[in-house]
Amino acid sequence: MKRLITSLALTILLTLTSVSGQKLSAPRTNGNAPSAPVKLTLPNKDSSVRFVVIGDTGTGTGQQHDLANVLLRYRQAFPFEFVLMMGDNMYGSEKTVDYKAKFEDVYKPLLDQKVKFYASLGNHDDSNQRFYGYFNMEGQEYYHFKKGNVSFYSLNSNYMDKKQVDWINEKLATDTADWKVAYFHHPPYSSGGAHGSDTRLREIVEPIFVKNHVNVVFTGHEHFYERIKPQKGVYYFISGSGGKLRKGDVKKGSPLTDKAYDSDLSFMLIEVAGDQMHFQVISRTGETVDSGIIARSTNGRG
């Protein structure tokens, strides 16, 4: 009952802090999108852990560049330290020229500013990306790192075999961080019409997340943004429109959706300040399409 009340209160809080309107109109420009002024809803404290979540980026298109430009503008106001990549970092060919055109050229200003990218692998990614210096995967398809009071688990949802499941279980069991964040490509919960929830993956990972008090899960694969209603105490976000868009793909009236945006590309700004995780979702036109706060409860559950 207590959990239900807490969940309800958080849902109301998130709803109140959300920007009104389910969907915004998409810009007509291509490769040169108009951009709204930078407007932060985050506390933006120096002591916070500040980062970005972006997925399904690797197209090299004008739209991907547009979004990267907005991201760069927001960094001037919100100096995030690193970026989590939700996979599909490289669509199609993965030659040297593709790394350049679909990643390095797009995010060059951020790379020049020493922003670190921590990638996960999608179904369009070659396993050898794990050796790529800019992806900071240390040669591993799944890996862990820590920033401040936040523990990050980058998983490979393409191939969730026994070795990986054992690794996650062992690693989480001894993790004492305040916040535990997992991110990977395929979403256990989704209101997407084209793909939808990956229930087979959910059967395996959800019990592990619940048991080990993972607070937040970020995924991609679906080419839109969706904030899922908390499931068994875990917050799930889909941020898979960093370079590709599946316009209008979110099922209307889905019981899973707390908030969705499938009209244009977007990324998430995240700030973990003590027991609160603040988020703000920005579209390619620079508009805020969702924002809110997740409070971490003292039992380790967000």
Partner: protein
Amino acid sequence: MGEKTHAAAVSCLLFTSHVRTTKISLIAVIVALSPAIALAQVNNKPVADAFAQRVKDYVKLREGIEEKMPKLSKEAKPEEIEVHKKQFQEAVRAARAGAKHGDLFTPDAAALIRAIIKDEFKGRDRVELRKTVLVESEVKALPLRVNYPYPEVKEQLEMPPNLLLRLPQLPKQIRYRFVGRNMLLVDRENGLILDYMTEAIP
């Protein structure tokens, strides 16, 4: 599955002892156990061990080749990754020039794997899997050629985690992968198709 079919068989036995219709009970037990018998026929240790050994032999060969190559750093540049993959592919292809369909997925190993897949995906689950590989996947078909690279530009379909936990475990360098109803064995680094089996998904 084993537990479910066993339970079904036990239920049938209880039922028959109650109504004392021996003939019906015998038929019921046979029907209930038939999938288990099918799996039991191929689910034996020698088949799995022999498959594991063949895979292990390949890994030994490819490790020997990779050790002689310049090591790829954890902070590699794209051109280093590209060159490494290409050289690795060419060296392994040359070393396995005689490799052919069925070398790793021998008929008995393929039968074992087909039985596991059939058992794991039943009813609605099977319909969903078929929809995933035959409708939703961007790669529904490929020219299946042993010792040739899996096309780099093509999607690598997510493997169902439950199935991965049941299939014979592979060394980290080797992957199962579905393409349509076929199952491939692929080297995750050099991208070569090591072997394939057709109609893996019923």
